[in-house]
Symmetry: C2
Subunit: 264 residues, 2 copies
């Protein structure tokens, strides 16, 4: 069982930011990544559709014999986690609870959350944060243009800065001291967000905390690999070309030998 | 046969700009629209994947008994038209040839083309324009951010103007006098494009010309409806809520009674 891989899925390239943190914290583990690039994005789609896609992605990874399922997509974590946990008999971890656990270190308890329409509409971040910090004041804003800006390679472009200024104005007005980056694309906009918000606001990226949660589960459940594996496999549902090109910035490394599969 | 509907499909809401022109020119015809909103967008996906989706959309419309198939999506028109014509025994019309026929009225024969990555990479617009005007100089630029800007309702926002300035600079340098709006979303950015390019550049929107082509085919082939039908039906592959909300701006009218179907 410990030799089995960690299965990670996302709608596309964004989850590579989570993959990267897991690979850094648990370099000896075998990792399998699935990007559902034929149907990306999930963030603008309905709960029903995202749930169906998440099931199909999870089924593919489970068929590869993974020992844990990591939902490295905020939208899918927001709408499909309980259903995935019910269906599959292995640990399933999303990115929202780990993000919420980091957010509650807010000093003034004014916490901002940004994400896709799907993630923000779900209300899952406020719910997860209030479970831990009942008197938190939470301000949520969907930022649909951040994903295409990051994928265009314009994360630090003047246009990204203006877009962030527009989206984040209500959060600045609300005097948040903590901002949850509720979409796996957003860490690429870190510098831009920092410019707009100033240095007084803590940016919470779920990726790192998700990797820590996995490590804890492995220790608790005896799932850690006893020797070096370190294999990495990448699967996508569309032709790999674009994934390989755009994915580099997310992984911070070259992507090669990406395999195409059909799911659903 | 004439009583049968005109079948129109697109990856999402964009094709409603084509639907609108067809409804205006041929108000007596029955129209069926399919938006593949569960898998939108097509513009960033591979040729193989877009071809598969286009087949499945066409199959749904053909099963409704339509008399003509209108591919109201530039990306699908660019990569799937010959295959659709081969597979289905009814007239199939795309938006690229009609657009090209309008573009060749360029005075200086410097013609710009903007579209999705898929449309621009296909090279179909330059090919269609050069067939009609062999010495045309054609300058093509993909503009991936225009679709999310239009869907965000920011088509006339300062950020759209800056984005257009960035994308269109090479076309201004090339002194184009004609710009083909090679994506059904782009007519919403007309004012912004006009501001950036100035009044000396003619903007070519395929929608109107596509409607004229359909009218011509109907006259030639005796397909015109002899009396008033005027029924309009809308189908989508995801939950209709977002389509109804975002689609209003594209259709210029309310969308109601949109039905959800599963294809593929």
């Amino acid at each position: 069982m410990p030799h089995r891989a960690i299965g990670i899925f996302d709608s596309g390239v964004g989850g590579l930011t989570v993959f990267k943190e897991i690979a850094a914290l648990l370099p000896e583990e075998n990792l399998i990544y699935l990007g559902d690039t034929a149907r990306v994005p999930y963030g603008t789609k309905s709960v029903e559709t995202v749930q169906r896609y998440a099931f199909e992605a999870a089924e593919f990874l489970v068929a590869q014999g993974v020992k844990i399922l990591v939902v490295a997509c905020n939208t899918a974590s927001a709408v499909a986690l309980p259903a995935l946990r019910q269906r599959f008999k292995l640990p399933v971890i999303g990115v929202i609870e780990p993000g919420a656990r980091k957010a509650i270190y807010s000093q003034n308890r004014h916490i901002g959350v940004i994400g896709t329409e799907g993630t923000i509409n779900s209300g899952r971040y406020p719910e997860a944060i209030r479970t831990l910090l009942p008197d938190a004041q939470i301000f949520s804003v969907p930022c649909p243009l951040f994903v295409p800006l990051a994928e265009e390679g314009w994360a630090e472009h003047e246009i990204a800065r203006l877009t962030a200024t527009e989206y984040l104005q209500p959060l600045i007005t609300a005097q948040i001291d903590t901002l949850v980056l509720g979409c796996t694309h957003y860490p690429l906009l870190r510098k831009t967000l920092r410019q707009v918000l100033g240095s007084g606001v803590t940016l919470v990226d779920s990726a790192e905390e998700t990797a820590k949660s996995i490590s804890q589960i492995f220790t608790q459940e005896g799932l850690s690999i006893p020797e070096y594996g370190g294999q990495r496999r990448f699967f996508v549902t569309d032709v790999p070309t674009r994934f390989e090109r755009v994915g580099r910035a997310f992984l911070g490394a070259e992507l090669d030998r990406v395999e195409q599969v059909q799911i659903g």
